[in-house]
């Protein structure tokens, strides 16, 4: 498992330079965008979601699996002393690690934004953080089983459909967050966490089953 994780992390390090070039401007722009309000529901939160949830959770698994297919590593690795379960798990671990670390970076940025503007609420920031992690894990959980079942080429179709769903979710989450922050307890997101974790576990299980059956 250590070997395959090392390989995935090296690959992420090498390919993430491209994403950093893409992400940094978004992060900087997001600092100058007004915080979400009822009048401006797609303010900071929109950029925040793009940076913390959408890009790492969709692009990274695609990059990893597509690279493996292109280089022939997916064929090679199954002949090495890794179990197929480990190969699948490594993709989940790396994608989650990236999602969590980018979420934390953006959380700190949002806290800085709050401090500098001296407006908005910390509760809203926490709810946003949770919301984004949930969207990221949801996206990962949806995409990975399809990639393990069909490979990247066919998986692209699923990716397109999933992306449409994610965008729909972002917009609906934004309005939900507004409502939550104003009317209901912000901790309602916490209740979603067990459901998302169950979805993640189910997704991992399905990916393992699909990958066990694949032939190279």
């Amino acid at each position: 498992m250590k070997g395959i994780l090392t390989k995935d992390l090296y690959l992420i390090k090498k390919t993430c330079k491209f994403y950093l070039i893409f992400l940094l401007p978004i992060m900087i722009i997001s600092m100058g965008v007004p915080l979400n309000t009822i009048e401006n529901p797609y303010g900071f939160l929109f950029y925040f979601t793009v940076v913390t949830a959408l890009i790492p959770s969709t692009a990274i698994p695609f990059t990893l699996i597509s690279n493996d297919e292109k280089s022939g590593w997916n064929t090679y690795s199954v002949a090495m002393p890794y179990t197929r379960k480990e190969i699948v798990s490594s993709k989940y671990i790396c994608s989650l690690m990236l999602t969590v670390s980018s979420s934390l970076i953006c959380f700190l940025l949002q806290c800085l934004n709050l401090f500098l503007r001296k407006s908005g609420s910390f509760e809203m920031t926490l709810v946003t953080l949770l919301g984004n992690v949930i969207i990221a894990v949801f996206t990962l959980s949806m995409i990975l089983p399809f990639l393990f079942k069909f490979g990247v080429e066919k998986g692209r179709l699923v990716y397109t459909i999933a992306t449409a769903c994610i965008y729909a979710m972002i917009f609906s989450t934004t309005s939900v967050v507004q409502t939550i922050s104003i009317q209901i307890s912000p901790w309602i997101d916490v209740a979603v966490i067990p459901c998302i974790l169950i979805l993640l576990a189910l997704s991992w299980y399905l990916s393992v089953v699909f990958f066990q059956k694949r032939e190279f």
Binding site: G3, K14, K70, S71, G72, P81, F216
Partner: protein, 282 residues
């Protein structure tokens, strides 16, 4: 003990079937898998390495079931497939780090020795390597974790004659240790002829023969004669023949040919081509 034992192995695809394959590779020996494109060589190797799932039959490696002891067995297997599948953006130092965390018995000094011996540049990414360089790196990885069984699928293809000779020498050295064995498939039958103790001929998913190389050379020979002379020979003695305007060439079983005929030695390539084509008129 046998390094590899395959019994009645079957695998069906819509357009191809591996049909009841039986094969035994004793420890300390080198076996060459010969066959035309699509004969089932790569499928056999992929089945051994658990990359595809068998329909029926058994595969034992060092007397252990290859599925039940998959992980342990793979620690003892070094392999090179026709496409060496390391990530293109990796330098060999990155591959070295990954492999050192993959194989328990990874031998860093040995790997570095091969890097030097194979003249593999440190500052080039894997995708910038030529096919020959990729093969050499694949071979270095396969040899650097003290594997007891090497499985090579078309591993000498794409190598220039000098490097190929060097690789064949390394493979010969590898089997000096009596606990080491090699299963190698190649289109270059002359390489296998130099290297192998056993030869297995695959044709359309069936094992035509699996025998010691020396026995094959003793058993079969090339008969050059006229077609009238060939007609005097018992048909079961003729493995395959080729007729042209200048006469007839036939691969025959030496023990069934009258002593009055002169039989010359046959190369493995000739034996294989004649066996597959059976009867060719040019």
């Amino acid at each position: 003990m046998n390094a590899l034992e395959i019994k009645d192995l079957r695998k069906n695809y819509s357009d191809f079937s591996l049909d009841g394959l039986n094969l035994t590779l004793p420890t300390g020996c080198i076996m060459g898998l010969v066959g035309e494109n699509g004969a089932g060589k790569s499928t056999t190797i992929k089945l051994i390495l658990n990359m595809v799932h068998k329909d029926s039959g058994t595969i034992s490696i060092f007397s252990k079931d290859h599925q039940q002891y998959d992980r342990n067995i793979k620690e003892d297997i070094g392999f090179v497939l026709d496409e060496v599948g390391f990530p293109g953006t990796f330098y060999w130092k990155d591959i070295h780090k990954v492999m050192s965390r993959t194989y328990k018995n990874w031998d860093e000094p040995l790997f570095l020795k091969y890097m030097k011996q194979f003249h593999l540049p440190e500052n080039k990414k894997f995708f910038e390597y030529s096919k020959g360089m990729k093969m050499r790196l694949g071979l270095a990885v396969a040899l650097s974790h003290h594997a007891k069984l090497l499985i090579l699928d078309e591993a000498t293809n794409g190598l220039d004659p000098v490097v190929r000779d060097e690789v064949l020498h390394i493979l010969s050295e590898f089997t000096r240790d009596e606990s080491h064995s090699i299963l190698i498939s190649s289109h270059i039958v002359s390489d296998l002829e130099k290297l192998c103790d056993y030869i297995a001929f695959l044709h359309q998913g069936r094992m035509m023969l699996c025998e010691e190389k020396d026995i094959l050379c003793e058993r079969y020979g090339m008969l050059r004669c006229t077609s009238q002379q060939l007609n005097q020979i018992e048909p079961s003695a003729i493995i395959g023949k080729k007729e042209n305007a200048y006469g007839t060439e036939a691969i025959v079983r030496r023990d069934r040919i009258p002593t009055s005929f002169t039989i010359s030695p046959v190369s493995l390539e000739e034996l294989f081509v004649f066996m597959v084509r059976k009867d060719v008129s040019l």
